[in-house]
């Protein structure tokens, strides 16, 4: 019986790049196997999945070595025959309505029109997405959009399922929904599965084999989960893989918090045309030397609150005041040059805030705008390059950095002017274990240096590791009560929210004061 997947010395180099994404990969996956593909960022996992989907055509898209076969045929010939689910559903949905979205794949495969809509209905029922066919896709939550993407795949009935970090961009509720759907589908199907997923703990029951790639593409480990994780745990953690295990340690603050830095009262933000306000009557204070986490499901107003506290969005009503210094006048109306001296903001997508053509210039923008002299700016830049391990990249174009490097750069630019307040939006989005650990340590260090931190996030492990206080938002309102310092995971009514078995990242092990 032909194997579902066969790679023989396979290598791929994307067009225009000097380095190979993958080289000399030898791998055989039999029909019906459920494989978890692991490896640090840059190991070529996404490239392998793209290749298996038949999306990589030499020579236009790049150079190929060796052979990659799917069901015995060259992968490049079977584009569209594997079901591929990506990480960020909103980027990959094609049509504006739920029914049309599922029908799209069927139309491409020349399914006769009279069979299309019954198949669509069946696929949507299978993933338990109960919306009418004309429901707009952009009104679905992240978890629902991802289930819709799965419905697309189900409708095409592929023999090979390829999932590229399907829950990475979702909040915990959405991720649970998607896992439940996957579990149910895979239980009743004989399809082969290749899954890439960082947070492996929760999907282990779906997997019967783990393959670990190392940077450059060769197979570092291959076997049943117990063998790979127990045997090779430490090396894997070194490599940035999230290995199921004890939770990450907590970075406790060394001293009590200082004076308040920014305070918001009765903050309300109503976007024109929206059915309800994004924020309603929110009171919040951030203190120096303390990390405040703002949590809540997607759409609860976390990002909006962060923008208001960073003076990037004017509240419709209510007041926000900056208390640690700065020019007179309303905080929401400060000139940018003044603002950058006191507040640093780190956006969810680092590329949105890049303005220069080299990393060094990028770091110099803030200090120069804040009025520092040339040499003072230069010293600051050198300091930051060193501290954040960016010196080898000083001359590179910021957009060409890897995900983790961009993230570090965006935090570095926010720190360049030594602001009293640091506002971050989902700083650990989609990070592998090692970069996660670095980010958590960095944030703790900034907090310990006396800055006030406001972190909007749905990453519960980050909250546990770094946050001293938590404010939970839902539909723009604060759920009753702000938690006492040191706790998280409560939803404000005293009930403990469901806890997930976390994985252990790599990072400096701090001399934590314990939990």
């Amino acid at each position: 019986m032909t194997a579902a997947v066969e790679a023989v010395g396979w290598g791929w180099r994307h067009a225009g790049r000097r380095g190979w994404a993958l080289r000399r990969l030898d791998l055989v996956v039999e029909e019906g196997e459920r494989v978890l593909l692991l490896g640090p960022s840059g190991a070529g996992k996404s490239t392998l999945l793209a290749g298996l989907s038949g999306l990589l055509h030499a020579p236009e898209a790049g150079d190929e070595e060796g052979r990659l076969l799917v069901g015995g045929r060259p992968a490049a010939d079977v584009a569209g025959h594997a079901g591929l689910v990506f990480q960020d559903p909103s980027s990959y949905l094609v049509m504006g309505r739920v029914g049309d979205e599922v029908a799209f794949g069927l139309e491409n495969r020349a399914v006769p029109p009279e069979e299309i809509w019954p198949t669509v209905a069946e696929a949507l029922a299978t993933v338990d997405l109960g919306y009418p066919l004309h429901h707009p896709t952009d009104r679905l939550s992240g978890g629902e959009q991802q289930r819709l993407a799965i419905a697309d795949v189900v409708a095409a009935r592929p023999r090979l399922w390829l999932l590229d970090e399907p829950t990475a961009n979702l909040d915990p509720d959405g991720a649970d929904l998607v896992r439940a759907t996957l579990r149910q589908l895979l239980a009743t199907s004989a399809a082969t599965l290749v899954l890439v997923e960082h947070r492996v703990g929760l999907l282990l029951d779906l997997i019967d084999r783990v393959v670990v790639l190392e940077p450059g593409g060769a197979v570092a480990a291959d076997g049943p989960p117990a063998e790979v994780f127990v045997g090779g745990g430490p090396t894997l953690r070194q490599a940035g893989v999230w290995v199921p295990g004890p939770p990450p340690p907590r970075f406790a603050p060394p001293r009590p918090p200082g004076p308040p830095v920014v305070a918001g009262e009765a903050l309300t933000v109503a976007y024109p045309g929206a059915s309800r306000p994004a924020l309603a009557d929110v009171d919040i204070t951030a203190y120096a030397g303390q990390a405040l986490a703002v949590t809540g499901p997607n759409g609860s107003g976390k990002t909006t609150l962060g923008l208001v506290l960073a003076s990037l969005l004017r509240p419709t009503s209510g007041a926000v005041r900056f208390l640690a210094g700065g020019p007179p006048g309303e905080f929401a109306r400060w000139r940018p040059r003044q603002l950058v001296r006191w507040v640093g903001t780190v956006f969810q997508e680092p590329e949105h805030q890049f303005v220069a053509s080299t990393v060094a210039d990028e770091l110099a923008v803030g200090p120069r705008r804040a009025g520092m002299s040339e040499e003072a700016s230069g010293r600051r830049v050198a300091e930051l390059l060193e501290r954040l391990a960016l010196r080898p990249l000083a001359k590179a174009n910021p957009f060409t950095l890897s995900g983790g490097e961009k993230r570090r750069l965006s935090v570095a630019t926010a720190l360049a002017t030594d602001p009293a307040l640091l506002v971050l939006d989902e700083p650990t989005f989609g990070q592998d274990a090692r970069t996660w650990g670095e980010m958590a340590a960095l944030l703790a260090e900034q907090r310990d240096a006396g800055r006030a931190l406001v972190i909007a996030t749905h990453d519960e492990e980050l909250v546990d590791a770094v946050a001293d206080r938590t404010v939970r938002l839902e539909s723009g309102r604060v759920l009753a009560g702000v938690d006492p310092p040191g706790t998280s995971g409560t939803d404000g009514t005293g009930r403990r929210a469901r806890r997930r078995p976390p994985a252990a990242p790599v990072g400096d092990q701090p001399t934590a004061a314990g939990r």
Binding site: G16, E60, S357, F399
Partner: protein, 208 residues
């Protein structure tokens, strides 16, 4: 000997033909450039909001800013580098503009065709092989001439000759600078970010 040469020429032409087939990424990215152009038009209008009515009525001011609306076509061609790119991108940009509420209704789409066809002809004149700055500026200027001439025929036909000439000159200059020169600079900057990897325009300097 002769047959080898013929065979070589045939494979070279076959490769060129195959390369001039639009891939999905060509279609989608050209469309996305057009859609981003729609966002930029909207933002540009917002920028000049308080003075836009005055500007619309004061022909030279309108002429000076004209280049912004002609940029998507030239930009699309410089990025995608395939036959039809300028026409397609400018056409889609004009449809996006019409869908978002353009005061000129369907005629904006007719303009889109002309505004895309003019630079397309310039790029075609160089057999779609030359994409350097002078060609891009010429393409921008051509788009400007097309748009200005259409305006003169449909709305401003009664103007004095002096006004007509200066209008065409202003629009052509605006378009040559913004669409032609600006477009070329923009593509160079985009290539350095690595985002143009799937396209020939992004391949000159390999990114590690």
């Amino acid at each position: 000997m002769a047959t080898e040469q013929v065979a070589d020429a045939r494979t070279a032409r076959a490769r060129r033909l195959r390369n001039s087939r639009w891939r999905t990424v060509d279609i989608v990215v050209a469309s996305v450039i057009a859609v981003a152009g729609g966002v930029v038009f909207w933002a540009w209008d917002q920028l000049w909001n308080t003075t836009s009515i005055a500007f619309a009525a004061f022909p030279p001011a309108h002429a000076v800013m004209y280049g912004v609306w002609l940029a998507p076509g030239v930009l699309g061609a410089l990025v995608i580098r395939k036959p039809g790119a300028a026409l397609y991108t400018e056409l889609v940009a004009s449809i996006v503009e019409a869908l978002l509420g353009s005061s000129w209704g369907l005629s904006v789409v007719a303009y889109g065709v002309a505004q895309g066809l003019a630079p397309e002809l310039v790029f075609a004149a160089f057999a779609y092989r030359l994409w350097r700055l002078p060609v891009s500026v010429a393409a921008g200027a051509a788009a400007g001439i097309a748009a200005a001439v259409l305006d003169l025929v449909y709305y401003y036909g009664t103007w004095h000759a002096g006004w007509k000439v200066s209008y065409v000159a202003l629009v052509m200059a605006s378009s040559a600078v913004v669409a032609g020169f600006g477009g070329a600079m923009l593509v160079r900057a985009l290539a350095r970010t690595g985002v143009l990897q799937p396209f020939p325009s992004g391949r000159r300097a390999p990114v590690a």
